[in-house]
């Protein structure tokens, strides 16, 4: 019994009594609405803080709706401080590390999905690759810091790109392996009978077929790199390679906290991720469970 069963687009007509918990529709909607409010209200609160003047922020009775929005905090985050630069650093690191991880990982995934290796290496290697992802990042923080120090790579974008690539690689291998396994072998065999080479068949036949999976996997890598905080904190000491999370954390630990700028920066960090998340909604369960649940 596996959880990987087809997704039924149309919910089937459930037999009445057995499956449904009998609950008045009103109660059910009420519960869901409460859950949604709890999910969203804190984020909305941050949005209001980012749009309020400092006097309004400090009001002892919180105002949720009735205030005149000001964009002054966004301005000072972008121009008065280095947030524009952090933003560019984050985007560069995320794009480069994702590209590297996708290229290297997709090839390995294809190798693992399509060939019988000796000594059941397919499964052993897959599991080994997965197990590297199980390690808490703090374990490699000290060694990676010392390695990067010895290579004089501290405070460079390169160190972050390298580390994030390694961080995303097991994920790419597992996701793409799943997508390749879903395609019948006959696809590239047909192309190869027609005189194509293996790599040619991969490029011309298989890659276009797994394109949605590739895109979704890449988006997950982008999100992971964009959100990453621990390594960014450990491997950077100055603004030279500070990413957005590090820049935001710098505001928090300052003596005098600028709530408005902090909220504005948080929202700017959050928006690309929400856009990406909407883009990969269909693959969300699969991505979050490393391909184990194909919702």
């Amino acid at each position: 019994m596996t959880a990987r069963v087809r997704q039924s687009k149309q919910p089937v007509a459930y037999p009445r009594r057995a499956r449904r918990l009998r609950l008045a529709p009103v109660a059910r909607y009420a519960l869901l609405v409460i859950a949604v409010i709890i999910s969203i209200a804190p984020v909305y609160w941050m949005v209001t803080i980012s749009l309020k003047t400092e006097i309004e922020q400090m009001s002892p009775s919180p105002e949720w709706i009735n205030f005149t929005p000001t964009f002054v905090h966004y301005q000072s985050a972008l121009f008065g401080r280095s947030f524009g630069q952090y933003f560019i650093t984050s985007a560069t690191v995320a794009a480069l590390s994702t590209t590297c991880a996708m290229v290297v990982g997709t090839l390995a995934a294809y190798g693992l999905a399509r060939f019988e290796l000796r000594a059941r290496l397919n499964r052993r290697l897959s599991m080994w690759i997965l197990s590297t992802r199980m390690l808490p990042p703090i374990l490699s923080a000290v060694p990676l810091f010392l390695m990067m120090r010895d290579l004089s790579l501290l405070d460079t974008l390169a160190s972050l790109v390298i580390v994030y690539m390694a961080m995303n690689l097991p994920f790419v291998v597992w996701m793409m392996r799943g997508f390749f396994q879903e395609l019948p072998r006959e696809m590239e065999e047909a192309a190869m009978v027609d005189g194509d080479t293996r790599m040619g068949a991969l490029r011309r036949v298989i890659i276009p077929l797994v394109a949605p999976g590739l895109a979704a996997t890449a988006v997950f890598c982008l999100i992971a790199s964009w959100n990453e905080f621990l390594f960014a904190l450990v491997l950077t000491q100055t603004d030279a390679a500070a990413t957005l999370p590090v820049g935001i954390a710098g505001l928090v630990t300052q003596y005098e906290i600028k709530w408005g700028i902090m909220s504005a920066a948080g929202i700017m960090a959050m928006i690309p991720i929400l856009v990406f998340a909407i883009a990969v909604q269909r693959y969300l369960v699969r991505g979050l469970s490393l391909g184990a649940v194909k919702g």
């Binding site: 019994m1 596996t2 959880a3 069963v5 997704q7 039924s8 459930y14 037999p15 057995a18 499956r19 519960l31 869901l32 949604v36 709890i38 999910s39 804190p42 609160w45 941050m46 009001s59 290297v104 090839l107 390995a108 693992l112 399509r114 290796l117 499964r123 599991m127 690759i129 997965l130 590297t132 199980m134 390690l135 808490p136 703090i138 374990l139 490699s140 000290v142 060694p143 810091f145 010392l146 390694a166 690689l169 999100i223 905080f229 621990l230 450990v234 935001i248 928090v252 909220s263 948080g266 960090a269 991720i273 929400l274 998340a277 909407i278 369960v285 979050l288 469970s289 649940v293 919702g295």
Partner: protein
């Protein structure tokens, strides 16, 4: 002519086959190389560091780091905080996530909207989650105390993350807020993958909702439940980002988790890499127990 071309074809075919047998290894090699250099080598380095005191030329082999661990009350309490954090958060996230999944796993108007809205907390960058909740928890102008004051409560004692008694519960609540959606999502996918027939049988037998839930839904949902629990457990053990933003381990030591403590020992206070490595070693052992469990499960599922 025929006789001449045959060996050619055969040789061609042989070299083709040879290429095919080495090709998968060539495809996999770069990944292995990257992971060996950036995942396995650091681990070996870590183990070496943990058995050494001093750094560079003055480094000496010793067990001092580990003997120190056993009596270090800071380390032990960070370990305890991590276990409490993981247990409490996991329990609540699972129960709430399951309840929500059961609520949504039926024809429902506006299902996509509910689902998308419920997923927002999980998609936020952890650092942003930290900020959101600093703004919520602030004793003076935060939304929570503001709302409580509006309802007529006295909030002077409710300093949330700043109070030694409430701080750990407050950061755990944030985790529950952020990650219940994950449980919800995975369990909902699991529920929707359950076929119709067992329910029909249960209905014919006239079983009640609870009986059906207990004997049909739960057993069939087990794979999804196990995956969700294990993935969450591994993330809970490593929790770092939000706590650093919310409390930096404080007040005092009240919310210091193991990741945070290792970070502080290595990079903020003592710069004692060997000792941090020894603590990491313990964390590694802890994680290993969980991940071995998880990989077994996946293997069984792949075989099925």
């Amino acid at each position: 002519m025929d006789a001449k071309s045959w060996p050619l074809i055969t040789r061609d075919k042989q070299s083709f086959l040879r290429r095919e047998t080495s090709l998968p290894y060539l495809l996999i090699a770069p990944t292995i190389a990257v992971l060996a250099a950036l995942s396995i080598y650091p681990l070996i380095y870590l183990i070496k560091l943990s058995f050494q005191t001093g750094e560079g030329a003055s480094a000496r082999w010793s067990l001092a780091n580990f003997t120190r661990l056993a009596t270090d009350s800071f380390f032990l309490s960070a370990l305890a905080h991590t276990l409490v954090y993981a247990t409490v958060a996991l329990t609540f996230e699972f129960l709430l996530g399951l309840a929500l999944a059961l609520l949504v796993d039926r024809p429902l108007r506006g299902r996509t909207v509910f689902r998308a809205a419920l997923l927002i907390p999980m998609m936020l960058p952890p650092v942003v989650v930290g900020i959101v909740w600093r703004l919520m928890y602030d004793p003076n102008f935060g939304a929570i105390n503001g709302a409580l004051r509006a309802l007529g409560f006295n909030t002077t004692a409710l300093t949330w993350t700043a109070s030694p008694a409430l701080a750990l519960a407050s950061v755990i609540a944030v985790d529950i807020w952020q990650w219940t959606p994950f449980m919800f999502l995975v369990l909902l996918a699991g529920l929707q993958a359950i076929p119709q027939e067992p329910y029909e049988a249960a209905m014919i037998d006239g079983s009640s909702w609870w009986q059906t839930f207990r004997h049909v839904t739960l057993p069939l949902l087990k794979p999804a439940i196990l995956i969700a629990l294990l993935l969450r457990t591994m993330d809970l053990i490593r929790v770092f980002d939000q706590i650093l933003i919310l409390t930096q381990g404080g007040p005092g030591f009240a919310t210091e988790t193991i990741s945070l403590h290792i970070f502080r020992v290595a990079f903020r206070v003592n710069f004692d890499y060997g000792y941090a490595a020894a603590m990491s070693f313990v964390l590694l052992a802890l994680t290993n127990v969980v991940s071995v469990f998880y990989i077994r499960l996946l293997q069984r599922q792949e075989a099925a």
